[in-house]
């Protein structure tokens, strides 16, 4: 894969990183209501610089509205919002040049070639011919479209068009990227490539605010915000989300024979488990505080009781399950599982 010009973090950004962990975005009780009950409400979040912040929620939950607030396209009704140290509605041209925005829908022009589309996007940021020429080559290489640069957009595949949209967001080398469902409607292989690009961009010192409906993509993020019905349910690291969803860490145990009720009660006590479930014959799933810490104790207890413990492995539930569980818990519904 080709790389963008800044494969190494920019010196300025590194200096800033050393000084203090600055926040790229902060919101306090940010509210925007379009009609009764539709919009975003009391949003409180902080996005550190040089991180990937994933914003996950179902369709209509307010993800795009949040991005539109942060880019200054719409005004908030109340609350505070700061992006790169300024209120978005006060952005001047220089501030806007620091932003990259990839809308949910393609805003490229079918009658122009891939190169012409990207050149147009670069021109919007005032890039002159020489600067644009160099950047086009590098950015098209980064998204692997250099060989197809003369192809008309209407003759390009959907995947190529999404890659071009990403290139158009990157062409002016922005500091903060807002990507609204960038992987929507593309195949898993390309989706994986996109995330490889995003991680590389983060390594270059950029901050990425990414919305997605694919819960599994949360694993790539440094922090994840879960949004439902316009309200932020929680913000945490991917591991933290799992812990929140399951009530702790999940440990799968496989014994040679099934345990009797008294043995199970003792196991739960030894592991300090908050929940448990028998999945199949001799197989048990425990929710514990720290799987790494309790595993040796469980092993010692099994040996002491003459029980044959075949495996003891931590279980990482899929983020789809985590999301369903979290929404259920945080929205006041009943969580799934034992």
């Amino acid at each position: 894969m080709d790389e963008l010009p800044q494969t190494e973090p920019e010196p300025e950004l590194l200096e800033e990183a050393k000084a203090e962990p600055e926040l790229a975005i902060t919101t306090q009780r940010l509210t925007k209501e379009f009609e009764e009950g539709v919009g975003v409400f009391d949003l409180d979040l902080e996005v550190p610089q040089r991180t990937i912040f994933g914003f996950i929620g179902p369709s209509g939950s307010g993800k795009t509205t949040t991005i539109r607030l942060m880019t200054g396209v719409v005004r908030p009704d109340s609350g505070q919002l700061t992006v790169l140290g300024k209120q978005p509605v006060e952005f001047d041209r220089r501030d806007r040049a620091d932003l990259g925005y990839m809308p949910q829908l393609s805003v490229l022009y079918p009658e122009l070639s891939i190169r012409q589309n990207l050149s147009f996007a670069a021109s919007l940021f005032g890039m002159g011919w020489r600067e644009r020429h160099q950047s086009l080559k590098e950015t098209l290489g980064f998204v692997e479209l250099w060989d197809d640069r003369h192809r008309l957009l209407r003759e390009s595949s959907g995947g190529m068009q999404r890659r071009l949209a990403l290139a158009a967001t990157l062409i002016h080398n922005p500091e903060l990227l807002f990507l609204d469902e960038p992987t929507a409607g593309i195949d898993p292989v390309l989706r994986r490539k996109f995330w490889d690009h995003f991680l590389e961009l983060k390594d270059q010192g950029r901050t990425l605010f990414i919305t997605t409906q694919y819960v599994g993509e949360a694993a790539y993020c440094d922090q994840v915000g879960v949004l439902a019905d316009g309200r932020l349910l929680t913000v945490d690291t991917p591991d933290g989300l799992r812990r929140q969803a399951m009530g702790g860490e999940v440990l799968d145990l496989k014994f040679a024979a099934s345990l009797d009720p008294a043995q199970i009660e003792e196991l739960v006590r030894v592991a300090s488990a908050t929940d448990w479930d028998q999945r199949r014959y001799g197989e048990y799933r425990l929710v514990v505080e720290d799987a790494g810490e309790v595993s040796p104790a469980i092993g010692a207890w099994a040996r002491e009781k003459g029980l044959e413990l075949e495996t003891a492995e931590p279980y990482l539930p899929p983020f789809d399950d985590v999301f369903v569980e979290l929404v259920g818990r945080l929205n006041g519904g009943e969580p799934n599982g034992g």
Partner: protein, 517 residues
Amino acid sequence: MADNRGISGGFTRSYAFFKKDVLEVLRQPRLLLTLVIGPFLILFLFGIGFDPDPPVLKTVLVAPPGSGLSERSEDLAAALGAQANLVGVVPSVDEATAMIDSREANIAVVIPEDAVETVRSGEQAVITILHDQIDPFEAGVVELFAVGAINQVNREVLQDLVVMGQEEAEQVEQPLPEARAAVEVMEQAARSEDDDAFEKGRSDLEAALTNLSAELGPSSSVLNRVNEQTTGGEESEGALDAAISRVKALEGSTGEERVAELEALSAELDEMEATIEDFRSLDPAVLVSPFRGEAVNYRNLDVVDMHFYIPGVVSLLVQHLTLTFAALSLVKERSQGAVELFRVSPLSGGEMLAGKYLANVVVGLLVGAALTAAAVFAFDFRPIGSWLWYGLAVLLVVLAAQGIGFVLSALAKTESQAVQYAMITLLVSIFFCGFFISIDRLLPSVRPVSYLLPATYGIRALQEVSFWGRAPSWELIGGGVVLALVLALLALGLMRRSVRAARPSRREARALEKATA
């Protein structure tokens, strides 16, 4: 980092829009061909199909039974002129209207049954022209035909009377020499003082003049008019009767009176003879219609009917296409979400507008050039004025039409709405910009609508360049430029509002702070 704020940054952004919009249009050759060839074919069909002559009307004649008109139908049809094509003679109005209803005839000419009696009673007889036209223009054509045809009939009748008079005038050859001979006898008798011979001569002269008066009959008044026209003399109506009275008065007159009176009578007889000769030799058509009108274009401007409409077609289509392109380009940007992207970028409304204006100028001028080239090659259209002025007139239309397009785009939510608004503007233009109906025929209270349309200035300016061979008047150019500027400013305001990010007003900002606190 790129120069976002400087002039070069602004130029780069404007140029980007210019290039994108031009490429988008040029990359759709089928669309361009449709837009240029389609209107050209309409023009071509109009050109070969337009008949500038008044239509020939299928005419049915209503001749009452016993009027004898049916036998003279051919003569009557000829009297109605070349515009009337006689398709039948029927005895009743009902039959005539049935023929009009069945499209066998366009009009019916109804001759009154008692025409002769009406005229003899000193009133005009009314010839009725029946039709069923609903188109005001076609109804006007029929009314004009009625006026012309009746005038023609009246002339024909008068002409017949004159011919009759000329024939009667030939019969006065006998009484006139008799009158001359009687005058000679009276002169000799007066010189020899022979009262008996004088009295006999006087009696013969009176008889000859009375006979002459009877022969001339109604032609005597025509003769009097002929006399007036040929000699420029005074009113001489009743001169023959006056001469007879004077001859009667010679009875019992003395010698000197007789000689003087006879000399005067002799001169009058000479004059009468000359007048009768003139009357007989004059063309009856000239006598009936001494004057005819002739319109002369003193500039020798001979504009082919088809060519007259070319400036109108070029202006109207350039306005329509440029306006549509402008409206659609902005609505498309908005509907596909690009405007949201522009709001996040450092782009200003003015930069976007400048780029789009320039692109539409190129496309509009190309369309104008293509249409004009088609008119030149297909219809041999050659403006006699400067091509530079011709191009500037088209440019004026392109600039002003864009302004309307951008304003319409602010009202339209979808592309189909934008097209509908453009079509409504085209419809308004067809009626108000002077394409078919001259603006002078509109009421002054309605004319401002015309002056809000770029095609109004374009048509007039192109006509001045093409047919008069002169530069458009400064009033025309000034009006067009002012319209273009006002619309451009309006478009700029709308464009700024469209592209500008959601900056709150002071009141909203205060409310926001208060709510946050």
